[in-house]
């Protein structure tokens, strides 16, 4: 090949280089979808074959097909409970944003407040929130409120910390620049500081949504009469392991769905190239 190839013009080289890049990229895109599906299918197949071959009883580890049947049989119940849990998650998460972001703002704007609230915040996180759940049942009964509050309590901490850290971490030159250009405090905040903090804020929001799911389920464990967490308890009590797995599938779908929702919001608010460049924020908590 090499000896008979004439000298390629630079345009030919360009075209071939670009083509191979396009090929590589489309291959990468396809494999990003294809590979996980293959792996999942393989895991399910091994699981199915293994449980059948070794005769594992269904109450210990049901094969995927049995879980699917259980899911199909209890479809409307799972759907109804998913909605109940989603509501708790969304309310708890919204509350953690509504409380967390202004709190972070106050921490950033008013150092004495930061100094007085930080020890409280940190110790509130050291306290296991699962342990507070029974107390919330006593205070707020068995309804929606205690679940929402537990989801809120678990979720709001990363929002506060990441927002406060994001607002605080900025090159001093950017602030000098804003002042010399004549921006006031409000304009500096909205034009420079807030956009600068967005990657960090979304980092907190993404962690918080997964924690809100945990919080809602914990609330349902302790005292619920509906929801996927309640379904898990019921299935567990009646040794209906396939139903328990069906509940887990529902929770997983919920968790991934909410996470993706936040990612979509992030992609709308923050350009791709600056996303995650503020990853250092995590270490400072």
């Amino acid at each position: 090949m090499a000896d008979e190839s004439r000298a390629l013009t630079i345009e030919d080289v360009e075209a071939s280089v670009q083509q191979s890049l396009a090929r590589r990229e489309s291959r990468a895109r396809r494999s990003a979808i294809f590979y996980p599906i293959v792996v999942l299918a393989a895991v399910l197949a091994v699981w199915e074959a293994g449980t059948r071959a070794f005769g594992v009883p269904a109450f210990l580890l049901p094969p995927p097909s049995v879980i699917a049947q259980s899911l199909a049989a209890h479809w409307s119940l799972v759907l109804q409970y998913s909605w109940a849990t989603s509501l708790e998650i969304l309310l708890g998460y919204s509350l953690s944003i509504v409380v967390g972001v202004p709190l972070a703002l106050a921490i950033f704007l008013w150092p004495p407040f930061a100094r007085s609230i930080y020890p409280l915040l940190v110790s509130s996180q050291a306290m296991p929130k699962v342990a507070v759940a029974p107390l919330f049942i006593v205070w707020f009964g068995f309804g929606l409120v205690p679940k929402v509050l537990i989801a809120f309590m678990i979720a709001f901490f990363p929002i506060v910390i990441d927002t406060a850290v994001g607002l605080g971490s900025i090159e001093p030159e950017k602030i000098y620049l804003a002042r010399s250009m004549g921006f006031g405090a409000t304009a500096t905040f909205f034009k420079i500081r807030l956009p600068n903090a967005l990657p960090s804020i979304f980092g907190g929001l993404k962690i918080a949504i997964t924690l809100a799911v945990v919080g809602a389920v914990v609330g349902e464990f302790v005292g619920g009469d509906k929801g996927l967490g309640y379904l898990l308890m019921v299935a567990n009590g009646s040794m209906d392991t396939p139903l328990l797995f069906a509940g887990l599938v529902g929770l997983t779908v919920l968790g991934v769905g909410f996470y993706l929702l936040i990612e979509v919001a992030e992609s709308l608010a923050v350009p791709r190239h600056i996303r995650g460049s503020h990853g250092a924020a995590r270490e400072s908590m």
Binding site: E171, E173, K174, Y176, L177, A178, R179, S180, M181, G182, F183, A187, K191, I192, P195, N196, V270, P271, H273, I274, S277
Partner: protein
């Protein structure tokens, strides 16, 4: 603050007699640290004429950046006063353009968007400012890059955007803090030429901070050489070379003489050592 009061009175007394655009009077800056006070500037006085290209040249840590920050009103002096057109500088000056060593661009804005930030701050007419911004970007070779984001630009391009941002509102003075310090030698040469061209067109007052002797001699009307820490003024050198200056001029005897004079100063002060 009595210092400031006296200075104000003096300024009123002298009235419009002050011919200098910028006057720095006995400026000192001391930073308090845990290890004791650090002297950044020790009684520095200097004047800049309107339309003058004035360079502060000195080794790292001689307080020249501090001087620029005080002259722009961004940080307060420990003692002494800065006057601009006879007025005491006691708050950030918004009639200037500043260029830092790093480009300090907003990553979420395009090149044009970054330049337009200045226009937004000044509430300039958008269409007029955008035309001016595009012209400026084109004049430093960034035509076609207006819609690129900072991460898509090279270091030299980013600094050019930063210079355009500092110029889009036709500032009274341009202050530059080692603007080319982080760039490679070739890009530096080009940007120095670009800057000279921009200055020739506008003849605005420039306060330029650098530690590059060649850069200082090439660009300036006058070079203020600083001593190492604490920063004092060592010598003020008039650069009497015809304009516009060319790269070839750097090989001339006169250019070399200016270089030599400054290097000798640095050797005498122990900034440089020939072993």
């Amino acid at each position: 603050m009595t210092d400031l009061g006296l200075a104000r009175a003096a300024a009123r007394a002298s009235g419009a007699a002050d011919q200098d655009y910028l006057r720095v009077d006995n400026l000192s800056k001391v930073y308090a640290t845990r290890d004791g006070p650090v002297r950044a500037l020790d009684q520095v006085s200097l004047k800049a004429r309107r339309g003058e290209f004035l360079t502060i040249l000195g080794p790292s840590g001689c307080g020249k950046s501090t001087l620029l920050m005080i002259a722009s009103g961004l940080i307060p002096a420990s003692s002494g006063v800065v006057f601009v057109e006879g007025q005491v500088v006691d708050k950030p000056r918004t009639d200037i353009g500043i260029v830092f060593q790093s480009a300090v661009l907003l990553e979420w804005r395009t090149a044009l968007g970054n330049v337009m930030l200045q226009a937004e701050a000044k509430k300039l007419d958008h269409a007029v400012a955008e035309r001016r911004a595009r012209e400026l970007l084109a004049s430093v070779g960034l035509a076609g890059f207006e819609d690129k984001y900072p991460h898509e630009l090279s270091g030299g391009m980013r600094q050019r955007v930063s210079i355009c941002r500092a110029l889009v509102h036709n500032p009274r003075q341009l202050l530059m803090d080692e603007p080319f310090g982080a760039l490679d030698a070739l890009t530096r040469d080009q940007l120095v030429l670009d800057l000279q061209k921009l200055w020739n067109e506008t003849r605005m007052t420039v306060l330029f901070i650098t530690h590059s002797v060649a850069e200082a001699v090439f660009l300036s009307d006058r070079v203020v050489v600083m001593t190492p820490r604490p920063g004092k003024i060592d010598r003020v050198i008039d650069i009497d070379l015809p304009r516009p200056r060319t790269l070839a001029m750097r090989e001339t005897q006169r250019f070399a003489d200016y270089n030599r004079e400054i290097l000798d100063l640095f050797l005498a002060r122990g900034v440089l050592r020939e072993h």
